[in-house]
Amino acid sequence: MSKTVTINPVTRIEGHGKITLVRDELGNLSDVRFCVQEFRGFEKFCEGTLAEALPSITSRICGICPIPHNLASIKAIEECFGTVITPTAGMLRELLALGQFIESHMLSLALLSLPDLVSRDSKPEHRNILGMYQANKEAVKKALEVRSFGTAICGILGRSPVHPIGPRIGGFVLPLSADEAKQLIEKAAPIGPALVWFGQLMRTLFEKNADYIETLGDIETSYMGLSKNGTLSFYDGDIKVIKESGSLIANFKPSAYFDFIEEKVENWSYMKFPVLKTGERFRVGPLARVNIADTIPTPLAAQELEWFRSKWPRPAHKTLCYHYARFIELLYAFERAVQLLGTPGITGKDIFTKPEIKAGLGVGVVEAPRGTLVHRYELDEEGKAVKVDIIVATQHNNYGYNDALKATALKIIGDGDPDENTLNKLEMVVRAYDPCLSCATHAQGQSPWTVELLDSSGVRLKEWRR
């Protein structure tokens, strides 16, 4: 019982985390916890920051989804200042957000998660992007080509690699030039066919791994996300929450977020647990958004949604379905980006509204690739931050991870020591959410991935570290 096996770090996720398995007096598995361990302290050290610096500083919370942080931050400040941006600036922000979705979703699918489904029986050392690259160079090249289209949008509109400087309070720093738009349109040409090819791969993988889809992370929850006109929306819209049955629970303006959602604290995790004030637990992210959307207005994504719903009726609950929903969103993001690039107003020069600095409270909400992201600032009359609250997508899924891990562990972990393959299945559940622990640790920082086994009094019986 005292032999120690270590899993440190858990791999192919963005950042580090820890899973604790709890056994009761009889030795039965009674609880499973996903804990986050480190700490960076953004909310505190952002106090005193001038408004114009907040979007640039808070984007550094996360190098994987810096753009949603940047945009949520700007929206919060604009709400406080009462700034209304021009239609062209609005389109550019949506396009930029789509670029980040393409980049981030393809990162999660191809580079981090799909190796589990492609080479399900292979050794750990081959279960990664390089293993896939050596086995099928063409497939990986296609995936990276799709991703590079997102990176190109982020680079051109963000005006700086990874952490953007293009969006600003009041609009954008520079318009999208006709040359730049042309460059992006040309770059988009081979992406459609690559995505269609990728779609075939996704369906094949989901058929081949049907047993995993059914058993890993099998829970039913409510879902929350932004929605506009009954469809997917990443940059703006209302917040909608649906029940596990699919019926509507709530529909409210982003500024009312704190009237509907509260955070619970569990004594075993640094990461707080957002729930509806009625006590309802929910999940966010690709599966939530796809479940909430009545329709998707672009053809390839709509076709894929139809197939998806024929297999997993709305709302789909299986945790690994997050991957398929992610692919549907990837298609939508690509198609919508091409639509926007073809809209004449996108290269308009009217991109700036002069803001008026004033004191107040502002809430900025956008969808990050992993789910709903909220920035709330209280600013003084000089536009300096007095208080900063940030609730990230990974936090919104906190109960989602824990409930799905518990359900999975109860199914697949027996009395004996779990082997590498079994532990990887727990990791697969976590990877499905594409957790961004850089984000989760804007307060908490990063931690190693370990799996712990505790007895009912909290004494550690065993620890697996790799």
Partner: protein, 301 residues
Amino acid sequence: MSDQLKISTIPLDSCCGCHMALVNMGTDLLDILAANVLVFSPVLMDKKSIQPCTVALVEGGVRNHENAEKLKELRQKADILIALGTCASFGGISGMGSAFTTLELLSNAYGADFSPEDLPVLEPRVTPIDAHVAVDYYIPGCPPPIGLLKETLGSLLAGEKPRRVDLPVCAECKRTVKKHLQPELKRLADNLPEPDECLLSQGFICLGSVSRCGCGAVCTHAGVPCRGCRGPIDRVFIEPTHGILHDLTRRISHFTGSKVSDIESRLKDTLHTFYRYTLSVPEMRRKDAEQIHQLIWRIKV
């Protein structure tokens, strides 16, 4: 193949953005990794323990004891250790956490009676990695510019010494300087800069003249003042009588005819404007020419 290099990458206290900059190299990165051997990289592969390697790329600074332990283990096992990005080089953005006590940071997030159990213990301050181990090369930047990444990795893989960059961002910036007598300090929050004129001479605080180039001045060209994400140039970094805030206020004084003390009294947010990426650099903290020692939470080092 004997000339294959063993490569490791590790994120410490960071946002993973430098790893994203690597991934953004696309198939160039995969070709490098396929031609060599990636032996340890928790973001990309399932190897769980730190391996002996030729080249180790370290992203992030040191915020807790566990960061420091991993860093030391990696240093022992790596022939060449590279500080990848500004957090590893200078402490970076979360280095601003050093302006507060760990208790202030934690209680703001979790309440006053919060008592963490079984978690990595925070160091009193954030530190760059060279406060703990010897560093062979630095590629600062938030994140490092992709061209510079490719160039530096290319040199290292070819067994050559990478090129050193030590000119201010102004060397790459196409804006032209003008003198204005007594202009106001302007804020980006409610102003759009003129397109071609030097941002500092327009009255915006721009750190370009004291910050290391290599970025192509992408920010200033887009009308966004430099915040020094690649850290200070050697002169500002090394010479005791130079400093970020010190040199900039004198330069503004030179452009405007205003007294340095007047300019200093009009600054609204020294911490996040001047020391956004370098608050945790021990060398900078000790300079009389800097105000870091007034901003940082003061304890015995």
